[in-house]
């Protein structure tokens, strides 16, 4: 039998509590307005056969699960989901490794360290559309500089048609995404590395630990929470990435780079199937939620 303990609050605590509520109210109102309402509208739309919100000619549509049955029986959707997962995991894992290696290097002291750090982080704030345009020219299969370099190094004999063949187009958008996203890892992991005391490494060295042992037994455990948070944030960004892929390939050729966000965009703004697009949005939200749930134990340790 468990006994209930009555918590007695002092007048000052009650006042503070009221004040906290008062301060939280505007934020709650914002959340309600900017998150809950659109989310509610999207859920509602996903159960309606609506061409477009705001149409002056559409009748009010009733509720139906037709969008969901259509989506789950649509091969294009499953292919786009598969592509999204391949795209996300490839880009995420490689950009994480590059980010980690660079963070470890930048954590050492060397000449022009600040300049190198700035140059490495430069890609991060560049808008996706600009990065897309940059990669279109770099990876142009006819006159692009990447082919010219590969040819001059005798790695290829003939131009690679980067953007007009399915597999190479996917490789191109993954490379562009890695280029755009690894600085985020470098930045966050470097911040994490700065927080590890040198004493741990000195003690480990005295005990005879080699570099690999110091990395796996000190650095990685100390960075665990930063790694999980940055993987989650960057993973969500890459999964929802739209502008970069759209600019480079438009989802083509032959839908080879059409991921879920592009499928959603096409349904919403090209075909004006808002109900169906909302259904894709809900599934995307579900997939993103899985990432968050998987990262939850580590996040709880870090933040709560």
């Amino acid at each position: 039998m468990t006994a209930k303990i009555k918590v007695i609050r002092t007048t000052s605590e009650k006042k503070n509590h009221r004040m906290a509520v008062a301060f939280a109210l505007p934020a709650a109102a914002f959340s309600l307005l900017l998150i809950i309402y659109p989310l509610f509208t999207t859920i509602k739309l996903s159960f309606q056969d609506v061409k477009f919100i705001g149409s002056l000619t559409d009748d009010t549509a009733g509720f139906t699960i037709a969008n969901y049955t259509k989506l789950f029986s649509n091969a294009d959707f499953w292919r786009a989901l598969g592509r999204s997962l391949i795209f996300t995991f490839s880009a995420l894992s490689i950009s994480f490794l590059i980010g980690l290696v660079l963070a470890l290097l930048l954590n050492k002291k060397f000449h022009c360290q600040k300049l190198v750090r700035t140059l490495i982080l430069l890609a991060w704030p560049i808008p996706g559309v600009i990065v897309g345009l940059l990669f279109i020219w770099l990876f142009d299969g006819n006159y692009g500089i990447i082919n010219t370099i590969l040819k001059s190094l005798h790695i290829i004999d003939q131009n690679v048609k980067w953007l007009s063949a399915g597999n190479t187009a996917m490789v191109t958008v993954i490379i562009a995404t890695i280029w755009k996203s690894y600085p985020f890892f470098t930045l966050t992991l470097l911040a994490g590395l700065k927080g590890i005391s040198e004493d741990y490494y000195e003690v480990a060295s005295i005990d005879g630990a080699n570099a690999w042992q110091r990395f796996t037994n000190i650095t990685l455990p100390a960075l665990q929470s930063v790694i999980v948070t940055s993987l989650l944030l960057n993973g969500l960004w890459i999964f929802r990435n739209y502008d970069l892929i759209y600019t480079i390939t438009g989802g083509g050729p032959n839908q080879a780079t059409e991921t879920l966000p592009l499928l959603l965009y096409n349904q919403a703004f090209k075909y004006y199937n808002m109900g169906y697009a909302s259904t894709i949005g809900m599934i995307s939200l579900l997939v993103c939620s899985i990432f968050v749930v998987l990262a939850m134990p580590s996040l709880k340790k870090q933040f709560y």
Binding site: F23, P26, I136, G250, F269
Partner: protein, 429 residues
């Protein structure tokens, strides 16, 4: 006590702040008490060379004629233009002066978003003086907009390359293919030509649809006729697409180019011929002097000239009557002959007004005569009967045709059959 008062003041400030943010644009901008009316005018042309000067002069003149009216002309990039406009309309905050790429007209008008203009047009001579392409802005006998540009596609070519090869500019489909072959040059023999006979774009977007359809329509084919898809699998359409496919199979064109890359490479002298609209003329004007003089324009060497409505102005159905009148006044003003001449002078594209084009204008712009001829003969490339489903229909065409022009080059006849079945199933016609 101090803390409590401070918290209350902060909360009140935030609440008022939020409330202020919540007031609508119309309430803020067109407040009758201040006496000033602001007309929003987003356009993808607001900062485009040529177009920018035209629109800025039009706005300045309108503001001069209407003292208490301001026009807020601002740039929205073309890639996100229709999405932005769609969102503004869906949120019931449409821009008072609505400028759209006309291929989206049917979709917008189907939502009931545009004001019918018949009564207003009756009081003017716009319809009788305007290009026949204006009829494309009609639904059930009612006009919902005024066309600003209707164009035919033309063939731009590099005269120096033809002279060097000793061949004539093509005048029919056979000489076109022969020229594409002759002018493609792989000087180091590595299988990657340095110069291409023809330049086609090959990215999954509407430019790809426009170009592929230029071959289909130019060679006498069609995707549909009043919603009937029989023309899609006709022999003419098949032959046109086989010819288009052969440009890629034989390496007469680069692959994977966006339309911007195609234009850039043409101006740099890396391709001998491209098909494109009048807007390429301004790019040629900016080319290096030694290249510029060799870049000329002529009619596409096919039996028909492909073309389309380009862009148009509209009045939103939900704005106030006062605003509607002002927007109509603005539309009327830009259709005046002086403004249409200014449009041709600044933009270098033909005016839809039959009375604005004269010898003086044609003399000033050497390409304009060709554009006018092509616009007059233009055969519409929009899918007949599928205008309301333009986005979805064109995507099926893009997806299908893309498989024909990418390795391993799908069979044209089989792909067309598949496309027809898919469109019939998905769009229900």
């Amino acid at each position: 006590m101090k803390k409590k008062s401070l918290s209350l003041i902060l909360c009140a400030t935030l609440v008022f702040g939020l409330a202020a943010c919540g007031s609508t644009k119309k309430e803020k901008k067109n407040d009758s008490s201040s006496g000033e009316i602001v007309l929003e005018f987003p356009s993808w042309q607001a900062t485009e060379p040529g177009f920018q000067e035209f629109w800025e002069e039009a706005v300045a003149e309108f503001e001069k004629r209407n003292e208490n009216v301001k026009i807020n002309l601002y740039q929205v990039p073309f890639d996100s233009y229709v999405d932005t406009l769609t969102t503004l309309y869906a949120a019931d905050t449409p821009p008072q002066i609505t400028h759209i790429p006309s291929r989206y007209f049917a979709q917008f008008s189907d939502m009931g978003w545009f004001e019918p203009l018949n009564d207003r047009l009756k009081q003017t001579d716009i319809i009788e003086n305007w290009s026949n392409l204006q009829d494309g802005l009609q639904v059930d006998g009612k006009y919902y907009g005024v066309l600003l540009l209707g164009n035919g596609y033309s063939m731009y070519y590099n005269k120096a390359m033809f002279d060097e090869a000793g061949i004539d500019v093509p005048t029919d489909v056979n000489s076109f293919m022969e020229a594409a072959k002759t002018l493609t040059k792989d000087e180091n023999g590595d299988g990657d030509p340095e110069i291409y006979g023809f330049g086609a774009c090959q990215v999954t977007d509407t430019n790809f649809y426009n170009e592929a359809t230029s071959f289909v329509v130019g060679l006498g084919g069609k995707w549909s006729e009043n919603g009937n898809l029989t023309p899609m699998t006709s022999d003419t359409t098949k032959e046109a697409l086989k010819l288009y496919q052969s440009l890629f199979v034989n390496n007469y064109t680069p692959t994977g180019l966006s339309v911007e890359q195609k234009r850039q490479y043409f101006v740099e002298g890396k391709m001998a011929m491209i098909f494109d609209g009048p807007w390429v003329a301004s790019l040629i004007n900016d080319a290096a002097e030694e290249v510029k003089e060799n870049l000329l324009v002529t009619t596409i060497p096919f039996e028909s000239v492909p073309g389309s409505m380009s862009n148009s102005l509209h009045i939103p159905a939900t704005i106030s009557d006062k605003e509607k009148e002002l927007v109509w006044e603005f539309i009327q003003m830009v259709t005046e002959n002086d403004f249409q001449k200014l449009y041709m002078e600044k933009v270098g594209s033909p005016s839809p007004s039959k009375t604005a084009i004269d010898d003086e204008v044609l003399e000033e712009n050497p390409f304009l005569g060709q554009f006018v001829k092509d616009a007059e003969k233009a055969q519409e490339i929009l899918p007949s009967g599928y205008e309301k489903d333009y986005g979805e229909f064109t995507q099926y065409i893009i997806d299908g045709v893309m498989t024909m022009v990418t390795d391993p080059y799908a069979d044209v006849a089989t792909t067309l059959d598949d496309m027809k079945t898919k469109i019939t199933n998905e769009l229900g016609k």
